[in-house]
Amino acid sequence: MNAAVRSVAIVGGGTTAWLCATALKRAFLHRGLDVLVLDLGRSADDPLGRWTLPSLRSIHTLLGIKEGDLIRRTGATFRLGTEHRSWQGDASRFVQMHGELGIEINGAPFEKYLALRTLSGRPEDIEDYSLAAVAARTGKFARPTESQNALTSSFTYGLHLDDSAYCEYLREYAQRLGVRRVNSQLHDVLLKDGNVNALVLPNGERIHADYFLDCSGQQALVMNRVGGSDRQDWSAWLRNDRMVSTRAFAIDDPPAVTRTDATDIGWLWRIPLAHSSVAGYIYSSEFCNDNEAIRQLRQYAPCISEPMVCHLRQSRRTRPWTRNCIAIGSSAVELEPLVGADLHIVQLGIATLIELFPLDTHAAVEATEYNRIIGEHADALRDFTVAHYRTGAGRSADYWRAMQTEPLPPSLADKLDLYRANGHIVLRDHETFETADWAWLLLGRHCLPDALGLHVRAKLTDAAVSHLTKLRIAIEQLAGSMPRHMDYVRQQR
């Protein structure tokens, strides 16, 4: 019989490390699990700002974090979705909202109705049928509520976070729960029979633990010693290998949306925070040097800090859990932040680890299962990201043409093939984005199926669509009654 797990040491000092520490400590308070963070400070690839998926709110709820308090103290704002500009030509735009789209018609999903309208030459504006989109467009926001009116719960939302403020918030919270913190650098990792035995600090002190979480970011300071360079390279599909970001002045009366702007070498982004904003540029060094990218970023947003460039190697580990070490965050998966899933990947990692928390110090079967689940999730997030470059029309610069050359990952090719043939989206077991998310993306990018299923056409031919006008009006009225986004943010307690 192997010994029970009593301690976990987490290496890293950013949001990933503290989110994991908080979640782990909270989940196993009852057994007095010892959780220690070797706080290395923020790593080079920690972003200044993040945009998150609605799922982050569920971990806040589990941890007992009050969202109003978090927003007030960290200067966060809300996000109903993302507005993508210029991705398909200079004047183009599409939005990716969180939540439902329209209403079912005779049992057929609304996106099929929209596709059919477009196929038959009478396109409609997808945004008119989403409360979230109309609220976003008009600068309004209120949280969804359960009410008689199904529209008020038809959407959901994520957050714009000031990463260092959020990290500090989590750190205080974790320390109140009893997470131990050691401020130091890591000098060496001692291995024993392939497992991590101890972390060695510059002063010679050693930190022992039963399990080690590598949250040190791209450097993967611990995992690289245990698991080596175990990487599935995604760069053939996702060629962006640089990220630069800067703090910028606050945006005046910003809508509750994340904004991206495609260029000839990548894409720019900007998110509103309560007292400032953060802007960044994700691009390919093959097509542009860093100085030129920084120049373009300065043009895009009024920078108030020196833009910092960091490298990106889009890829994932095959075995993020190897021996007694688990890599979470960018030490396991490096993916450009386009779809807002960087903290989601962290959350999946820590939630899956908690569910599969080893019963003893020998956990081979748990590791196999963990790696299977996280691998499928990561691949699905990659596919959703790649689809932003490979569906509908694109831009024409060399960079964009180069992005089109590699055959798609088979999982994405299968999904898009069937979609193009009959409009049907098949989801696999571990996917973050659902049918409605794919519909926003594909219809938004004017990527239409060649035909629709015969049974859908049977449902839609005699569809009474007169009530759709009523739906549009109801959405407009409801959006009109919401407060302005920043007024709502300032009301948070």
Binding site: A27, F28, L29, H30, R31, L62, I354, E355, L356, F357, L359, D360, V365, E366, T368, E369, D414, D417, L418, R420, A421, N422, G423, H424, V426, L427, R428, D429, P449, D450, A451, L452, G453, L454, H455, R457, A458, T461
Partner: protein, 506 residues
């Protein structure tokens, strides 16, 4: 779209008529023309059939009134399957249509149960399942709609006469314009250019052309195999049974609201109670028992007087390499065979048809992208059922006969081996989004087959012991009280859907 889709279904029986009924209901009349060819000379396999709750969705989708269907097919209700003598002789467990207990603090109930068991004071797991307790007491009511009510914590299926079911669907389909042609297929003509099926020829010389051919001709696969030579993936090394002998018997005693599967020396015996008789059969491996001996054994193990003579079937466990090949879709036994141990036959027919309907986008020239996606989906469904069936055979502690020794020691598919290892280690069930068998089903069979985890999820330790004992006791008491107030299955049937004499003679 100019021409309607011209669908030719070859073979009546459950698969053929389910396909005809669903296609005629789901597609607009201007989009399809559906014709079904069947021969009275060729009998259908139709015996007593047990179904899964999913069939209710099929009924709803195509607009079948469940009460009417039940009355006309001599149907009874089914809350699960009782497995007798599987892990060891003398054992009995029920695989219920519903969960055990309820999740607490986000942790699956069975993890708490494992914790109590480790401390030596767990009540039997069955006591936490409303459908099992109801089944053991011969009780039944329809589930409640209110998701908060205990009475909504289960589903149900039907046990019905498969030939009456086919007749019922035939009537349904014919009223929606399906044309039935009596005749025996004697030839299949393939198109020279691409080998697609152009037409079939009947014994009377008539030629029937079509865009889409649905092969419901049974094991032999008249179109998919005999004409198109699609190939078959055999699974007999995991599922060695290759024969069945079936015979009905007279009802004795109250009608059980569940199907029974009793493990036998060379396979297993089914018992399916219908309103007018009981369906029985012995599924066996010809490697371990002769046909005569199997029939003898079956006849000596009926509860009531035998009605009719035993009928034999033979089959090979496995699946067609492509269930959609060119312009032919194989449905039912023509597509693959998995023994009816978990009542999956009609489910697999249903999923083939509904997926076909969901995917069909054109009335001719089927898109290879659609065909590939369809085959991937159907393969996934078969593979998941297959693994679940293998578990029943593999996880046994019987040393009384060579079949069981073989199954206990055989090598497993990797997917199942990983599942089992994870469950044995810590009681974790690998769940998935699509395909059959949710967590409760895997739990029922793991525990029923005496696969006992050595550990459990440490999250289940967070709750105080007294609190846990109190909450679990309450769950058991509520189930007991609820079942005490339920009517008997017989009584419920007699008021809800008594079979009328007209249907019995259809």
């Amino acid at each position: 779209m100019s021409q309607p889709l011209n669908v030719v279904i070859v073979g009546g029986g459950t698969a053929g008529w389910m396909a005809a009924a669903a296609l005629s209901a789901a597609l607009a009349p201007q989009h399809r023309r559906v014709r079904l060819i069947e021969s009275a000379e060729i009998g259908t396999v139709g015996v007593g059939e047990a179904t899964l709750p999913h069939l209710r969705m099929f009924n709803r989708r195509i607009g079948i009134d469940e009460r009417d269907l039940m009355a006309k097919t001599q149907a009874t209700f089914k809350l699960g399957i009782e497995f007798v003598d599987w892990a060891r002789i003398g054992d009995s467990y029920i695989h219920p249509f519903g969960a055990y207990g309820s999740r607490m603090a986000g942790v699956p109930f069975h993890q708490y149960w494992l914790r109590q068991r480790k401390h030596g004071h767990a009540a039997p797991l069955e006591a936490y399942s409303l459908p099992i307790v109801a089944a053991r007491h011969g009780k039944f009511v329809l589930p409640a709609d209110d998701p908060a009510a205990l009475l909504s914590s289960f589903g149900y299926a039907f046990q019905f006469d498969a030939s009456l079911y086919a007749a019922y669907l035939r009537d349904f389909a014919e009223r929606r314009g399906v044309v039935r042609t009596e005749g025996k297929v004697v030839d299949v003509k393939l198109r020279g250019t691409d080998g697609w099926i152009e037409s079939i020829k009947l014994a009377d010389g008539s030629v029937i052309a079509g865009d889409l051919f649905i092969d419901c001709s049974g094991f032999r696969g008249l179109l998919i195999e005999q004409a198109l030579h699609t190939g078959y993936e055999e699974w007999t090394h995991w599922l060695p049974c290759d024969r069945a002998v079936a015979v009905p018997s007279r009802n004795v005693g109250p009608l059980t609201p569940y199907t029974r599967a009793t493990a036998r020396e060379a396979g297993w015996q089914w018992r399916i109670p219908l309103q007018h008789r009981t369906g029985n059969g012995y599924v066996y491996s010809s490697h371990f028992i002769s046909d005569d001996a199997a029939a003898q054994k079956l006849l000596s193990r009926l509860d009531g007087e035998v009605l009719g003579t035993p009928r034999f079937l033979s089959f090979v466990a496995g699946r067609r390499r492509k269930t959609w090949n060119k312009n032919c879709v194989a449905v039912g036994l023509a597509g693959g065979f998995l023994e009816p141990l978990e009542s999956t036959s009609i489910y697999l027919i249903q999923i083939a048809i509904t997926t076909l309907i969901d995917y069909l986008a054109a009335t001719s020239g089927f898109d290879a992208r659609i065909v590939d996606a369809y085959n991937r989906w159907i393969d996934m469904e078969y593979d998941r059922v297959r693994d679940f069936l293998i578990l029943h055979y593999h996880a046994n502690q019987r040393e009384d006969s060579p079949l069981w020794n073989h199954c206990r020691t055989m090598e497993l598919p990797d997917t199942l081996a990983h599942r089992l290892e994870l469950f044995r280690h810590r009681g974790r069930v690998i769940t998935y989004k699509d395909g059959l068998f949710l967590e409760a089903s895997w739990l029922a069979v793991y525990f029923g087959q005496r696969v006992m985890p050595t550990g459990y999820d440490s999250l289940a330790d967070a709750m105080g012991a007294a609190e846990l004992d109190r909450r679990t006791r309450t769950m058991r008491e509520q189930i007991e009280q609820t079942v005490a107030h339920m009517p008997t299955h017989d009584r419920f049937l007699s008021t809800y859907c008594p079979a009328n004499s007209e249907a019995a003679h259809a």
